[in-house]
Symmetry: C2
Subunit: 419 residues, 2 copies
Amino acid sequence: MSNQELSAAFFLQMAVILGSCRLVGMAARRLGQPQVVGEMIAGVILGPSLLGWKFPQFMAEIFPKDSLKLLFVGAQLGVGLYMFLVGTEFDISTFTRRLRSAAAVSISGMLAPFLLGAGLALWLYHTPGLFSAKATQVEAILFLGAAMSITAFPMLARIIYERGLTGTPLGTLALAAGAIDDAAAWCVLAIVLASFGAGPAVAIKAIAGGALYGVLMLTIGRRLLAHLGAAVDRAGRLSPAMLGFVLLLFALAAFLTDTIGIHAVFGGFILGAAMPRGTLTRELQRQIEPFAVVFLLPMFFTFSGLNTRLDLVNNPQMLLIAGAVLVAAVAGKGAACWAAARLTGADQRTALAVGTLMNARGLMELIILNIGLQRGVIEPGLFSVMVLMAIVTTLMASPVFEWVYGRHARAAGTFGAGA
Amino acid sequence: MSNQELSAAFFLQMAVILGSCRLVGMAARRLGQPQVVGEMIAGVILGPSLLGWKFPQFMAEIFPKDSLKLLFVGAQLGVGLYMFLVGTEFDISTFTRRLRSAAAVSISGMLAPFLLGAGLALWLYHTPGLFSAKATQVEAILFLGAAMSITAFPMLARIIYERGLTGTPLGTLALAAGAIDDAAAWCVLAIVLASFGAGPAVAIKAIAGGALYGVLMLTIGRRLLAHLGAAVDRAGRLSPAMLGFVLLLFALAAFLTDTIGIHAVFGGFILGAAMPRGTLTRELQRQIEPFAVVFLLPMFFTFSGLNTRLDLVNNPQMLLIAGAVLVAAVAGKGAACWAAARLTGADQRTALAVGTLMNARGLMELIILNIGLQRGVIEPGLFSVMVLMAIVTTLMASPVFEWVYGRHARAAGTFGAGA
């Protein structure tokens, strides 16, 4: 494909991707679902599960082979920037405010799904088409454990901010527990990816390099970035030159973490978490988020959807596995978090709402799954089962939240102004 | 290159590109030059003219062959979005306010450089390494004529807005003439590109298709888009869904104009010009411009720089040609606009300032040159000479403007608040 043909193919592809994200997203919002649910489903629809199955010729024309590399890199840029923005909103200090309850919920929300995921990995390790032959049993256990423990932290945070729940017991509890759980799951994933290299030297480079990157960024890096934040605060605006400098740092961080063998999303997330809060982060969100979320992220959902093959989940055995994964996901995350909240004194509605919000997997799950597939830890069969789980748990969140908490809160007038 | 290697290479490349844009841009601002001058030069530095000449190994590592397709498409997206944003600022109505003078300046600013460019094309048509063997003499004349007539309209507009000159005789005159000239030059380019297809059927498709697209967009399209504008005005904000819809329209427009054989920048520009002014266009600029200008446009400057080979301009003959092109460019545009403004009653300082501003070629020249090179109208030798001309005329603008107008206006207090 010539440069010019590739560029025309890219514009057509983006029109199709943005069009289906809008259509499915609109339908999702009609049903009271967040946009992200629509885009997760739109990606699957564009893939071999529907479009490629019904109209293989059309799919081959919209997604010619040469364009897939482009889609991949655009998707990496999109999730990298997104995780960077998530990092700038990440605030561990909420944790200390309701220490006992938050610790109980986050530990249960990690341990229970991790153990259930590990159990599933033991059961499924030898089933063909799930784990790659390269993955050892320990790696399989760690990966599935981490993948089950994921929370859609950005979605959870958005629901809480949007409904004005930030200062409430529910808000602090869910934010703290969600943040801790995600941080822990990503650490486990980093260890899996690191161990998945070509021998111990590569693993040590990845683990030591990743740890060094994280520690340096959150200590020296944070202090240096504070000067940048102060300069932007004084200026009262983020100039194009400053934005360019931050994007340069982002590109460096993504390159570095990609190269040492963990993943660009870690580079972006930790850089974001090290940024000083204030005009700088507000302006970064304002200037980067629209394009990253509306134009680049759909490339990720589509790339993920192109790898999702629901046709592999069409026999009794795979349906049984899918059911078991879903039950383990909901029991391990939703039910365990509810129980932990109840046992540490939360009232019934708050505990149910915490369980519901923690249970949604959203985009974060797709990110971890795509990394696992791309690095060859899991195979398309398990990938597709897990995508299904991610979609169902995310779909459940809004209606269940409304049912167990929203309608009561609205009646009692305890939703904030943003609700 | 695997997906993963390509993605790591992309992040490293972006770090190098953004880093050199910052460095050279900073140096440019110190010297009173706009950022765009710095980025034009940074692109050339990263190419075979300097980096590839001194450190060929390093250049090959930063720009591996597989990554160039990516850079190309990112660059197309960047200039496409940029031209879309330029379209949303394009306002032909200023023309009517100083009709006689604006008409004189814009006609001189078109005819003189066009004739000089045509003369150059006649002279240079048979010199090897300038025009491609595929280009007929008429196409060579039209292309060089159009390329000489280009004005850096967005830069001109920015200087005028930033210094608060919008309502002054200088402001209206320069804005009107610059807009007309650029529109005319792009029409000529569209005709060249259309005629440059594989036979009359392709040319007719391009010319008729392009004209039809332009007319439909600016009549029916404009009316339909007015509803969108009214909806956004009522809402008082541009929602992510609406932004996604506009980006979908942009992708469609870019695909369409790419496919009929003119170029994606036309699709973007005309879509932008058809947009209703108000909250919609203000928000589009606010939400798209930072990322497009700071992250994507540098990809274009770099791609352009990778094609610029100043080593081809190292013999007496090529230096003579470069000198002739530069003299023709300045005489045809700067001097002719000054003379036309003087003859229609502008005072000396205003006329000199109009000539100076019209003379800068900036990014717009690089866009037309890259299209010419990519479609095979011109060869690397002429491309490099013309890039040199674009850089020099852009470099001249700020100091000459300051000398002939700025210091007097500042002394007289006739610069606006933004100066």
